[in-house]
Structures are given as structure tokens and as C-alpha cells.
Amino acid sequence: MTLAALELQNIEFSWAQQPKPLFAIAELTLQQGETLFIGGPSGCGKTSLLSLITGIQVPQHGTCKVLGTAMNLLSPSDRDRFRGEHLGLIFQQFNLLPFLTVQENIELPSKLFDRRFKKSTELFGSVQAHVDRLCDALHLEPALRQRRANLLSVGEQQRVAAARALLGCPSLIVADEPTSALDEENKIDFLNLLLSTASAQNTSVITVSHDMRIASKFDRVFLMPRREPQHVLA
């Protein structure tokens, strides 16, 4: 039996000094290799949910298991390590370190964590081979790879971010509004490339977005529970 990529049970999360929980989720499970879309309007706690999954925060109630590991049982620094070794993250934009080249940005996970380095070497022979493979799959031309990251277009930057997230074959990619900064055409291209490259590595993908139009690309869709309105306007 393979471990589930994500298992949430009776989660309740609230910010410090706020009595009311921001959101509560009874159950959410994602099998390894599946893709999940989490949707909902702004301010419903999507990003906070991601911070639970990535181990930046822990829920006040319930269990949050990522790849079979209960995040709330790990120490903060173990959660950081877990994130670096097993997860790949993509933000809305500004994913790249501007002072490094594209190549150096993609290589970062393998430089920081032995596990990611070994995975790439085991499966592809060398880190460079994996980088090449990912760049080809994500349509990043070789000429681009020696350029400084801040000279790229937003679309290119997002694809480089995807390549970095996928290097070292993490089990789960977590993407926070990865397409919001892209135009319509790039949006679909990017998603197709990300999802196909991820599935080739049997990597699960969790994406949060308010853009329901892209939801159809994912295996599963989860909508954040609506909160009772705090102010009723007449």
C-alpha cells in the first residue's frame, strides 16, 4: 500500500489571538501521484492551508499528515528539513533568486539537501542530466539556462520555478496561485507542462487558486468551506 500524499483530518486553524477559527476541514485525502485543486475566494484561508501542508504552521486541532508524516509531531526545524527534502514549492511569482543563473536556481534543492541530490543521481545519472531533462520538458532552451534569473519573462520564471520544484523528485509539489501572474495562453501552457512533468515523476501536485477555470486540469477539486460572513451589509 502506498502512503497518501496528503491526509487532513478534523483540521481547525486560527491565527494567534483570534478566537474564531479561520477554517475547519473535516477530511481531505490525496493519493500519491494524484493532482488536487483547492479553490475558494480570497481570504478564505487557502494560503494558510498551504502553510499547514508545508509545515510553516501547525493546526490547533486535528492531524495533518503529509506523505504519511504527521507534521504536528515534528519539531519546527524538522518540518523545515522535511519541506526541503520532500516538497517542491511554487509561488505566484518571484520564485527565483535574482542573483543566480537559471541553472543555479534549478540546482538549489540538490545543493541544499543530499536526499534530493541522490534521487536525481539515482534516477537520471547526474543532477545535470535531470536539469537537462526538466528544462527540455518545460521548454526552457539551453541558451536560457546561463542567463540571470531576473532577466526572464514571468512565464519563463514560472517554468524555471517548476523545474526547481521538481528537481530531486520530491513526492509533492505545492503551488500557491502559480498561474495568477500569467496571461491566458501561458496559463494553460504552464499548467500542462507542470502537470505532465510531475506525473512523469509520479509527483503529486496540490495547487491553490481562486481561478476556477483551471480546476478541470486536476484529478480532484476541493473547495474551501465558506465562512459565515462577519459583517452583514444591509
Partner: protein
């Protein structure tokens, strides 16, 4: 380590602002270390100049003044002592030797010192006997009258005036060379060039007391004999070498048989009975007088050090503020580090390392810069202030300051690092835009 490498690249991408703050730290370090080194070098070269001399004797007045004008040729005496007192000092049982000093003339800005051949036998600089690059000392004019034309110069004079052995030149009466004050009627022949000593002697021109006297036969009111209508009969005035005795001396350096008798010798010299020509005398222990001098200078010295320290503190505050301001622009970068699995502690280290690196490089550059500046201005310092500077590794004093500066740098680096740590905990992966 990879984090350090990353920190370095990140810092390099912000090199302009970091360079500016580094320069400000560097300048403050130069000020601090430069003042310190010049202070130590000044003390060293001042005390080198009189090693071996037990007492400096001159007309009663300020100890420091006597020392400054008779040894370092800084300032001018207001009064001379009588030559007859030299003989009376010589007769004191405790006294081993004396070096008479006669000042007042110059050679192109370099002071001329009239003395006896005893000088070359007795004078020590930094505990070492005098030695010559070329030639030898002038002879005793009482033995060979030709010695009246002989001159010995210090290394610095030879270098700056490009003089060789057997060159002849004329000295100047006083310190301003105009036609009427140049001793053209009495040219000197160079017989010896001293090795560098790192003392004011390097800048001195040495002649015998008799020659000094012969130079001034027939002079009056600071002008040479030919300037007067009534031409004196020089031949008649200049009788024999034996009669060429000065009536006055600027100072006398005294060596004793035993250092232990220095206080009784001083008492004996100071209580010599006055006669018609003599003035009350004072005998100064060079070490004590130097201490008195440092006492006077200490206020200025400390003020400079305090200013240097304040400048250093300001520049460190500058570094901290530039880095703190820079951090808000780096929130994205820090979030990326977090997303890649960096612990907040790693972020603390990265930022701290960067600040420390900037300060460390600046401090190192400051240490080198101070040395370089002192090296470049060593001639100026020697000529204008009589300070022989030393280049090389920083002394104990300087190491202490460098250590203190590094501690400040360490302290300065924790501030932005702590802020970055707090920020990365607070922001997580979602820095505010």
C-alpha cells in the same frame, strides 16, 4: 558551505550599497588605527633619539621645551647656557662624558648642529652606536685645522639633497636663506654620511663647535660681514683655532658613569655656583621629560582616539541601518530560502555572515589602508614631526583595537540577522508585497 556561498552571491548582487558602507567602516578603521600607530611610533622614535643620554642640560626653564628644541629641533631656545659651564660639568666626578650642542643655523631647512667629536663616540640611537654609510666623522679642529671645513650629514639630508662625499656647500645663518644670510664665505666639504637612525639626527647637519664659531666671526645682527660698510679685517679677527671657543651653547647632553647617580648628578649640575657669565641651569632626565610631554599630548591623543572610536561606531550603525533597510527588499529572497527548506536559524546565520563579511573585509582593508597611508606619508611625518614610522604587522595596541572592532562587527551583524530571523518566522512563505 553552500549557505555561505549563497550569502556571498546575494551580497555581491547588492555590492554598491554594501561597498559604500564598507568604505565608511574602512575609513573609520584607518582613522582609529592610524592615530594609534602614529602615537606609538612617535613615542618610540622620541625615546629612541635619546637612548644612552642620562641628562640633558640647558638654561633653566621648561623641561619639555629644552628637550624639544635641543633634541628634536622643534621650536627655538629663548636663552643659551654659558660655555664655561660645559667645563664645570665635565669636572663633576659623576660625569663620564658630555656632548655640547649648538644650534641656530640651517642648510636648506635641515638644522645644523655644532658639536664635538665626542658625539660620534657617545651618541646612541635605539641603543646602537652611530655608523657611517660612507666616510667618517669630522676631525677635532684642535688637531687638524682643516676640520673647520668638514661636515657630516644624516641619511635623510643626503637622500633629499642628493649629496655625495667631498661635495661642498654653504650653510645658512638662521632658518631663512636669503643672500645676506648664507655663509658663502665658509663652504663645507662633506666627509661623512650617517646611516639612517630613525631619529632627528637623520635630518641634521653636523659640524664642529669650532667650525660653528668660525662661521660667525665678524657677523652681526644676523647678517654676514660683507653686509656692513665697515669691512672688518677677518684675518685679524680670526686668530687661531685654539681661540675659536664659543661663548654660549644651546644644551649639553651628559652621560654618567653610573645611572644610579643620576639624581645626585642632576643636583650637582643645577647647584653649580653662578658666575658672571653663567645662567641658572637645569638638568633633565629625558625619560621624565618625555613623560611630561606625553602628559600634555595625551588630551589631544585621547580626543583623537575617542573621535576615531565614535566614527567607527557611526560607521557600524551605518552598516546596520543599510542592511536593515535592505532586508525589507529581501523578504522575497528570505521566503524563497524558507521554501527551499531553510530553517530560520540558517537565515539568521546567512544574514549575520553577510554583515560580518562586509565589516570584516572593511576592517582588513582599513588595517592595510592605515599601513599604506603611513608608508606613503612617512617622509612627511619624519620631516614635519620627527616621527619615524614603522611599517609591518600591527602592534599589540592595534591588535587590541582590531579585536574590539571585530567584536563590534559581530554585534552589528546580529541586529539585521535577528530582524531577518523574526521576519522569516512571521512571513513564512508569504512575504507582504
Amino acid at each position: 558551505m553552500f549557505w555561505l556561498n549563497l550569502a556571498w552571491k546575494s551580497a555581491w548582487s547588492r555590492k554598491y550599497s554594501l561597498c559604500l558602507v564598507a568604505v565608511s567602516v574602512c575609513l573609520s578603521v584607518i582613522i582609529l588605527l592610524g592615530v594609534q600607530q602614529i602615537r606609538t611610533d612617535a613615542k618610540q622614535s622620541f625615546s629612541n633619539a635619546l637612548s644612552g643620554v642620562d641628562l640633558v642640560v640647558g638654561p633653566r626653564g621648561s623641561q619639555t621645551d629644552l628637550l624639544l628644541y635641543s633634541v628634536f629641533q622643534l621650536g627655538a631656545p629663548t636663552q643659551n647656557m654659558s660655555y664655561t659651564d660645559l667645563q664645570r660639568i665635565n669636572q663633576l666626578p659623576a660625569v663620564a662624558w658630555t656632548i655640547p650642542i649648538q644650534l641656530g643655523d640651517s642648510f636648506d631647512g635641515f638644522p645644523v648642529m655644532g658639536t664635538s667629536i665626542e658625539f660620534f663616540k657617545r651618541y646612541k640611537s635605539s641603543g646602537k652606536d652611530l655608523s657611517f654609510q660612507v666616510g667618517q666623522s669630522f676631525e677635532d679642529p684642535q688637531v687638524n685645522a682643516g676640520a673647520l671645513m668638514q661636515v657630516v650629514i644624516g641619511a635623510e639630508v643626503a637622500k633629499s639633497k642628493k649629496l655625495k662625499l667631498n661635495d661642498t656647500f654653504a650653510l645658512t645663518h638662521g632658518y631663512k636663506a636669503i643672500e645676506e644670510t648664507v655663509h658663502t664665505d665658509h663652504p663645507f666639504k662633506l666627509v661623512g654620511i650617517l646611516k639612517p637612525t630613525g631619529t632627528p639626527l637623520d635630518r641634521s647637519v653636523l659640524i664642529s663647535l669650532e667650525a660653528f664659531e668660525a662661521l660667525h666671526v665678524g657677523w652681526g645682527m644676523g647678517l654676514r660681514p660683507s653686509a656692513f660698510d665697515a669691512k672688518p679685517d677677518l684675518q685679524k679677527d680670526l686668530r687661531s683655532v685654539a681661540e675659536l671657543k664659543p661663548s654660549e651653547l644651546t644644551a649639553v647632553w651628559v652621560g654618567l658613569h653610573s645611572r644610579a647617580t643620576v639624581f645626585s648628578a642632576r643636583k650637582a649640575i643645577e647647584s653649580l655656583r653662578l658666575n658672571s657669565t653663567s645662567v641658572p641651569l637645569m638638568a633633565v632626565l629625558p625619560g621624565v621629560a618625555l613623560d611630561e610631554l606625553w602628559q600634555i599630548v595625551r588630551v589631544v591623543e585621547n580626543a583623537l582616539i575617542v573621535i576615531g572610536a565614535l566614527v567607527a561606531v557611526c560607521s557600524f550603525l551605518g552598516v546596520v541601518s543599510v542592511l536593515l533597510v535592505g532586508l525589507s527588499a529581501r523578504r522575497k529572497e528570505l521566503a524563497i530560502y524558507r521554501s527551499l527548506g531553510a530553517r530560520p536559524a540558517s537565515i539568521f546565520m546567512t544574514v549575520a555572515w553577510e554583515t560580518f563579511l562586509v565589516c570584516g573585509v572593511a576592517i582588513a582593508a582599513g588595517v592595510l589602508g592605515a599601513q599604506l597611508l603611513i608608508f606613503v606619508f612617512q617622509d612627511y611625518l619624519l620631516q614635519s614631526f620627527g616621527i619615524q614610522t614603522q611599517n609591518g604587522w600591527p602592534g599589540a595596541d592595534a591588535w587590541y583595537s582590531i579585536g574590539l572592532l571585530l567584536c563590534c562587527a559581530l554585534l552589528a551583524s546580529t541586529l539585521p540577522a535577528w530582524r531577518a530571523y523574526r521576519m522569516s518566522l512571521l512571513d513564512g512563505l508569504n512575504p507582504p508585497n
